[in-house]
Amino acid sequence: MSGGVDSSTAAALLKEQGYDVIGISMKLWDYPDDINRFGGCCTLDDINDARRVADKLDIPFYVVNMEDVFSKEVVDYFVSAYLKGETPNPCLKCNQILKFETLLKKAVELEADYLATGHYARIVYNDLSKRYKLLKGVDKDKDQSYFLFTMTQEQMSKIMFPLGSLAKSDVRVHARRFGLKIAEKKESQDICFVSGSQYHDFIAKMTGVYENSGDIVDRDGNLLGKHSGLYKYTIGQRKGIGIAAGKPQYVVDIDAKNNRLVVGSRYDAFSDGLIARDINWISMVSPELQMDVESKIRYRHKGVKSVVKPIGEGRAEVEFFSPECAVTPGQAVVFYKGEEVTGGGWIERRL
C-alpha cells in the first residue's frame, strides 16, 4: 500500500470480497536532512496515508524496511545506467525486484496466499497451455502491463491485480464509496527518490561528478559543440541540446565510451529494430523461431508491428515493420499479441 488511491482501493475491494487482507507499505528511501519535504511517492506522509486507509478498513498494517534493496537494486542501477549512456527505468526495476521478489517473499513469510497490488493489468490462467497469461488492464489509458514483463510463472501464481478490470475513474468512485480520504489524491509522476524532476542534480550528487564535459558531434564525427555530462540526455531528445544549427537536431546516440553525444536529423533518430537482452517470455517457454508481435519500446509508446526472433543467450532481435523514433537503450521493449503480453526484455541497442 503506497498510500495512493490505487493500492488503497485494491485493498478495500479485496476486503469487501471477503479476503483476509494485510496491508504492507514498503519503506524504500530515507529522505535525509529534509524534514520539510512533502509529496512524492513512498514518503512518510504516504505511509501515514496508507496506515489511515488500513485503519479505516480495519486490517492489520505493517511497514517493512526495504531501503537496502532499493538503494542497491534501483538507485544504484539508476545512476550506473545513466553513466553507461542508457536511460534507466527505475519503476520497472522497482516492480521486478522490490515488489515481485522482495515484497512477495515477505508476503509468503507472513503465510499470505497472494500478494495483491494496485496495478492496472490482469493475470489469467490458461488451462490449455497450463500457464499464467498477463493481459493489459481494461483501462487502456492506465494499462501498466509494460511494467510487468519480468514476471515469472511462479510469481504470477501468487499475484493478484484487483484493479485490472476497472477504469481509473471507477476506482476513484469505489474509493469514495469506501470513504477513503485519499480518493482524490493526485497520481505520483516523478521518480520517487529524486525530488522534483531534477535527476541531473541527483546523479551529480550521487557520483560526485558535477561536470564531465565532452564533444557533441554529428554522425560523421564533425564537432558541433560541447555537452556538460552525457546523463543529461536521452535518445530522441531535441530541446536543450545547446548547439545552434540550421535545422532541428536530435540526440541519436549516447557514446559513453568516448563521452560523446551524437546528434542528427529527425530521420537519424529512427531505427529499423533493436536488440534486447534478458528476455522474459510469459505466454510460452520461448518462441521456436520468430513471432509477429506488437512492440512497445517505452511505457507511453503506442506500439509498432514487429517480428521478434530469439538469438540466444537470453537475447532477441526485434525488426519493426516501419522505422521507430528514439529506440532507447535501458528502456524495456515489451511484446504484445492483442491484449496479451507475450514477453519482453531490456533494450541493449538500436539496429
Binding site: 511497514v63 513469510e109 507472513l110
Partner: protein
C-alpha cells in the same frame, strides 16, 4: 486472539493505582498549581507529594527533582544545559556508542556547534571499559553522559565507578536512567551521579511525563524559558496529572521492586531456556549477568528480526527488534553493531522485555509459537540451508549459467 505484551522497554501500561492517583487532576482538581486561590491548592499539594515520591526513588532531596515532559527532554536538558553552563570551562563530552538516540543525537548536534565528543566502545557483551573512560578524559572534559542500563540489551553499566572518576575531576556525570528506573535500585548519592533522567511511561505512568534528578549545586542552563516553574529550571505550567502519576509510579516501583525483579528474572530465563532448547543457532546479545532482570535480547541467525516480529504480532505477541525509536530505520541496531555483532546476526535480533502483567503462561505460549515461525523462515532462507550443509536450492541460478 491472545495478546501478550513483551515490549515493556518500549512502554508500559498505566498501573491501575497510578491511574487512580492522576484522575482527580483531570477532573475536579483542575486548578493551576501556581494559583493562590482554592483551585490551586490540591494540585500544588499533589506536586509536592509526587516530588517526595520521586525523590525517594532517587534517594535525593525534593529540591533536586525537576519534572519534564519525557526522557528525551530530560536528556536534552542535562546535556545541552550542562555544556551551555560550563562552556567557558571546556568543550569535551564523553559518552558511549550505545546510548539512546536522545543522547546520541544531542551529542551529534553539539558536535556541529563546536563541541568535541568521545564515543566509548563496548565489548562483545555490550559493556564499556572503565579504563577507556579514564583515558578519554582531557582537561577540556566537562560532561560524561553514560546510560545506567541499555534499552536494547539490558546491560547495566558500572555507574558507581564512573561516578567516582567524574567526582574527583569536577566533571558533570549525567546518566540516562530511563530503563533502570523501577527495575533496579539506585541511589544517586552513593553513586555520585550529578544528573539522572527517568521517564514515566517506562514505569507504569503515562506518556508525557518525566523526571530529572539534578544534584544541588550543579549548574544547568534551562532549555525552556518562561515562568518560575521548577525553580526556574523548566518553565511551563505543570502537567499535574502526569506528575501525580509519576510520583505514584515511583512509590510503587520502590515498593515492589525486589519481588518483581526476582519474578521477572525467573520468567526471562525461562523464556531464554525454552527458546534455546527448541531453536538451534540462538545467541544471547548482552551480558549474561550484568543485565536488567526483564530484558532478553536474542539473535535468531539466518532470519530477519522484522519478519519474526510481524509473524509474532499475528500470533498476538508484541516484541521488538532494537529500540522502538529506531525501528523503521535502515541501519541495524547501533547497539549490536557497536558490540561487533555481524550484520547477519544482528539482523535477526529480537528484544523481549517483560513487565508486571506477564505470567509463566505467557512465556510458555511464546515458547510454543516462536520455534515454528523461525523454522519456517529458515526453510525459506538459502543462507540457512547452505550453513547447515544441506544443499541449498540454487538450481535456478545454475540454469542461467549453463551456456
Amino acid at each position: 486472539m491472545k495478546r501478550i505484551y513483551l515490549d515493556h522497554n518500549a512502554t508500559t501500561s498505566v498501573h491501575p493505582e497510578v491511574l487512580d492517583a492522576m484522575l482527580p487532576f483531570l477532573k475536579e482538581d483542575f486548578g493551576n498549581p501556581s494559583s493562590i486561590h482554592w483551585a490551586g491548592r490540591n494540585p500544588k499539594k499533589a506536586i509536592d507529594k509526587a516530588r517526595e515520591q520521586v525523590a525517594y526513588l532517587f534517594n535525593c532531596d525534593v529540591s533536586e527533582i525537576i519534572f519534564t515532559s519525557c526522557g528525551s527532554e530530560g536528556d536534552n536538558l542535562a546535556i545541552k544545559g550542562t555544556v551551555e553552563a560550563k562552556k567557558d570551562k571546556g568543550s569535551h563530552i564523553i559518552t558511549t556508542k550505545v546510548e539512546h538516540p536522545a543522547v546520541l543525537n544531542t551529542c551529534k548536534y553539539l558536535e556541529k556547534t563546536g563541541f568535541e565528543v568521545t564515543y566509548l566502545d563496548v565489548d562483545s557483551y555490550g559493556m564499556i571499559d572503565i579504563e577507556q573512560v579514564k583515558s578519554s578524559i582531557t582537561p577540556k572534559t566537562i560532561l560524561i553522559s553514560i546510560m545506567f542500563a541499555n534499552n536494547e540489551t539490558g546491560v547495566i553499566f558500572p555507574v558507581e565507578e564512573i561516578g567516582k572518576i567524574a567526582k574527583g575531576r569536577n566533571i558533570v556525570f549525567h546518566t540516562d536512567a530511563v530503563q533502570a528506573a523501577g527495575k533496579i535500585p539506585f541511589n544517586v548519592k552513593k553513586l555520585n551521579i550529578d544528573i539522572a533522567v527517568i521517564s514515566g511511561h517506562k514505569l507504569y505512568a503515562p506518556k508525557g511525563i518525566g523526571a530529572t534528578y539534578l544534584k544541588r549545586g550543579v549548574r544547568l542552563t534551562p532549555l525552556i524559558h518562561g515562568g518560575h516553574h521548577e525553580r526556574n529550571r523548566r518553565a511551563g505550567t505543570e502537567n499535574v496529572a502526569g506528575i501525580a502519576a509519576i510520583g505514584k509510579a515511583c512509590e510503587i516501583a520502590v515498593r515492589d521492586m525486589k519481588d518483581e525483579s526476582e519474578r521477572l528474572a525467573v520468567l526471562r530465563d525461562r523464556l531464554h531456556k525454552g527458546l534455546a532448547e527448541k531453536i538451534p543457532h540462538v545467541k544471547l546479545n548482552g551480558h549474561p549477568e550484568k543485565r536488567l532482570p526483564n530484558t532478553l535480547n536474542l539473535s535468531f541467525e539466518f532470519v530477519e528480526g522484522e519478519s519474526l516480529l510481524l509473524n509474532l504480532d499475528m500470533k498476538g505477541v508484541a516484541a521488538s527488534s532494537g529500540s522502538a525509536c529506531t525501528s523503521g530505520s535502515l541501519e541495524p541496531s547501533h547497539v549490536l553493531v557497536a558490540m561487533g555483532i555481524p550484520h547477519e546476526v544482528s539482523h535477526g535480533s529480537l528484544r523481549f522485555s517483560l513487565g508486571k502483567d506477564n505470567t509463566a503462561e505467557d512465556i510458555d505460549y511464546v515458547i510454543d509459537v516462536l520455534p515454528p515461525i523461525v523454522e519456517r523462515m529458515r526453510s525459506m532462507s538459502p543462507l540457512y540451508e547452505a550453513s547447515t550443509g544441506k544443499a541449498a536450492n540454487i538450481s535456478f541460478a545454475a540454469d542461467n549459467c549453463k551456456h
